[in-house]
């Protein structure tokens, strides 16, 4: 890994809220989905930042917001000194060459009717980099070689490849523009375990060769631990903990991170038999109506009366770069607060969406 340098990307209090519309003729906004609600983080050049969290925590939206694939509602995004949110039209388009994305499902993110050559060349043309035919051909072949595909792949179509190879094409498409930042949204979760390792190794090799900066978004903590230098844990639209990968896994400080890590099954019966699980009660609350105070207090086994429910904890530096958003992180780490039972609260998938439409339909069996 490279030395710590200037941050390439800085997010300050980024928010992405999606309005919920209702009404037939007039669009009335009846509420918001608070997908990302105030996230600040910075990614150093040449490093890998891993973003973990469960589905619905806003990690993908944050990644898309960073590239402005969805429009952030508020906050500041600085990429290499440029204020990304103020960019418009042509300048935004040009900036995007430098930040590329790899998607989760390679089959649905690659046009089935485009050959690999046309898929790769499309981005080059869009940025006026495909003028010299010979040079372009060379560039395509080099990119394919870098991701471990033969040059003969150029004339083939996505369906002719296996899942792992398709993901390599997705990586090649991002890589061909020579970007500085790659946002990878669940790059290996659609792949079989034996193939996951190949793709993870490839991502690491490419970073070492080209000094790429990654933002890796994944739900699999083991994958993120393996590849990331810094890890951020998200819960309900906010960052609850951030630390270097080793620190975070050695000493998770936020109750949610602790529960998350204790829930990951380890392929070793000796570990599995010994370990104590912190089972969280209930489900993730709806992001349309997040709990007041600490977002996690409704499920937290360490929650303390009133303060956790009243005051949203800020992400604060606890010890040398380990940032935690918990009022009682030190007390919990020292064992001064004991975990207690939590009653699961009811969570509905459509909470707050359209009021008064649940539970009212009496069945006629």
């Amino acid at each position: 890994m490279t030395e710590r340098t200037e941050p390439l990307v800085e997010l300050r209090d980024v928010k992405v809220h999606f309005p919920i519309k209702s009404g037939l003729l007039v669009d009335r906004t009846v509420g918001y989905v608070y997908a990302v609600d105030g996230v600040s983080l910075s990614i150093n050049a040449g490093e890998t930042y891993g973003l973990v969290g469960e589905s619905g925590c806003g990690k993908s939206t944050l990644g898309r917001g960073l590239l402005r694939l969805v429009e952030p509602t508020d906050g500041e995004i600085v990429f290499d000194g440029i204020d990304v949110r103020s960019l418009k039209g042509e300048s935004l388009r040009r900036a995007r060459r430098r930040m590329q994305m790899i998607f989760q499902d390679p089959l649905s993110s690659l046009d089935p009717r485009q050959s690999v050559e046309s898929l790769l060349i499309e981005g080059l043309k869009a940025h006026g980099l495909a003028d010299d035919k010979a040079a372009t051909g060379k560039r395509l072949r080099e990119t394919l070689e870098a991701v471990g595909l033969p040059a003969s792949a150029l004339r083939k179509y996505p369906h002719e490849f296996s899942g792992g190879q398709r993901q390599r094409i997705g990586i090649a498409r991002a890589l061909v523009l020579n970007p500085e930042l790659i946002v990878a949204d669940e790059p290996v979760s659609a792949l079989d375990v034996s193939i996951q390792a190949q793709v993870l190794n490839l991502l690491e090799d490419l970073q070492n060769e080209r000094g790429l900066t990654y933002l890796i978004i994944a739900h699999d903590l083991a994958v993120v631990r393996h590849i990331a230098d810094t890890v951020g844990v998200m819960y309900l639209g906010g960052l609850v903990e951030e630390a270097s990968s080793d620190d975070l896994y050695r000493e998770p400080m936020h109750p949610y991170t602790r529960a998350l890590m204790s829930a990951v099954p380890v392929p070793d019966p000796l570990v599995e038999d010994r370990r104590e699980r912190i089972l969280l009660a209930g489900d993730l609350p709806s992001p349309t109506n997040p709990p007041a105070g600490c977002r996690f207090h409704t499920r937290c086994p360490w929650a303390q009366p009133t303060r956790c429910a009243d005051e949203r904890p800020a992400l604060r530096d606890v010890l040398g770069g380990h940032r935690v958003a918990c009022h009682y992180a030190e007390e919990i780490a020292a064992g001064r607060i004991r975990p207690h039972e939590v009653e699961p609260e009811l969570v509905r998938p459509d909470d707050g969406g359209a009021p008064g439409d649940t539970g009212e339909l009496i069945p006629t069996p």
């Binding site: 034996s194 083991a222 539970g359 069996p365």
Partner: protein, 328 residues
């Protein structure tokens, strides 16, 4: 006598104008009462098709199932469809991967649980609903009274999977088949469901067949593990034995290729090269041979037999990983 004895089970899919495809190739394993058995493998290894064949849920046409599935001595494959329907849900319960698509979206949860009790235990609707309420309570669904009247889309994914478990266990079956029951769920919810399954299996003495691709899930749950590759069992061992000393190069490779939460960081993953597309047919040799680091000439001369090992397991390999080479 074993509770379930699967002998030489094969499933061949046939389509007109296409070459027949053998999804499951002479798979044999047995399940003792109260035991938890794992079927592990990657997509396409035949683990789900095996479970569907046991339950008699494969489509009527387009496939050929051979072999024997002996449940308490009776061959399920020879039962008439009506008799099989009597057993399904009563003797053998099943949980599927995606709870949303395995629940009926237009029928309230309560009725879907009660249905099983009415069908198999002859309860009337009122009594069955009362029983259903208790079942939902037992699987940890809060406020079960209200849940009874709700539809699948109104509850979360974890709750849906709990409802599915309640349905599968309603008639106290002696065998439960769980096909990737936690794959669609988040890790914290997965931990809840696995804990629940373990607890219910302990309490009721139900035998469990756990089908999964996740070696971590198997490590915490199964007594015996069958590793499938290309439709065949390639290794079978007791849980501790398999993880401590994986002998088949495929098992060994799988365990080495997964990043682990408790491993040293920065180490390179040992990927298995190639993909399942490189497999050769078992008639020509070991299907895994093209991807195997331990391949020898004998591997390309027909399928190696499944032979008992010194430690009480079974192994299908000409040149197994030496015992000294353990998983880091």
């Amino acid at each position: 006598m074993s509770l379930l004895d699967v002998r030489d089970l094969s499933v061949v899919f046939q389509r007109r104008g296409e070459r027949p495809f053998t999804a499951v190739d002479k798979v044999s394993f047995s399940v003792e009462p109260g035991q938890t058995v794992g079927l592990v493998g990657e997509s396409g290894c035949g683990k789900s098709v095996t479970s569907l064949a046991i339950m008699g849920l494969l489509p009527q046409r387009g496939n050929k199932v051979t072999g024997e599935v002996l449940f308490e001595g009776a061959n399920l494959l020879e039962l008439r469809p009506d008799d099989m329907r009597d057993r399904r849900g009563r003797d053998i319960g099943m949980i599927f991967q995606d709870p949303l698509s395995s629940l009926n979206p237009v029928i309230p949860i309560g009725v879907q649980v009660a249905e099983v009790l009415e069908r198999h235990q002859g309860m009337d609707r009122r009594k069955a609903l009362r029983e259903a309420r208790q079942l939902l309570d037992a699987v940890g669904i809060p406020d079960p009274e209200r849940r009874l009247k709700e539809y699948p889309h109104q509850i979360s994914g974890g709750m849906r999977q709990r409802a599915l478990i309640a349905i599968a266990l309603a008639c106290k079956p002696r065998l439960l088949i769980a096909d990737e029951p936690t794959t669609a769920l988040d890790v914290t919810i997965q931990a809840q469901i696995l804990t629940l399954l373990k607890q219910l299996v302990d309490e009721t003495g139900t035998a469990l067949i756990m089908i999964t691709h996740d070696l971590g899930v198997v490590a915490g749950l199964c007594d015996t593990v069958n590793v499938l590759y290309g439709g065949k069992v390639v290794e079978r061992a007791a849980r501790h034995e398999l993880f401590a000393r994986p002998r088949h190069p495929y098992t060994h490779g799988l365990l080495n290729s997964v990043p682990r939460l408790d491993s040293v960081r920065g180490e390179r993953l040992h990927a298995i090269r190639g993909s399942v597309a490189d497999n050769i047919p078992w008639t020509e040799g070991c299907a895994f041979a093209p991807r195997c680091n331990y391949v020898v000439d004998a591997c390309l001369e027909g399928a190696p037999p499944l032979e008992p090992t010194a430690t009480g397991g079974d192994l299908r390999c000409n040149n197994p990983v030496p015992v000294e080479v353990t998983v880091p």
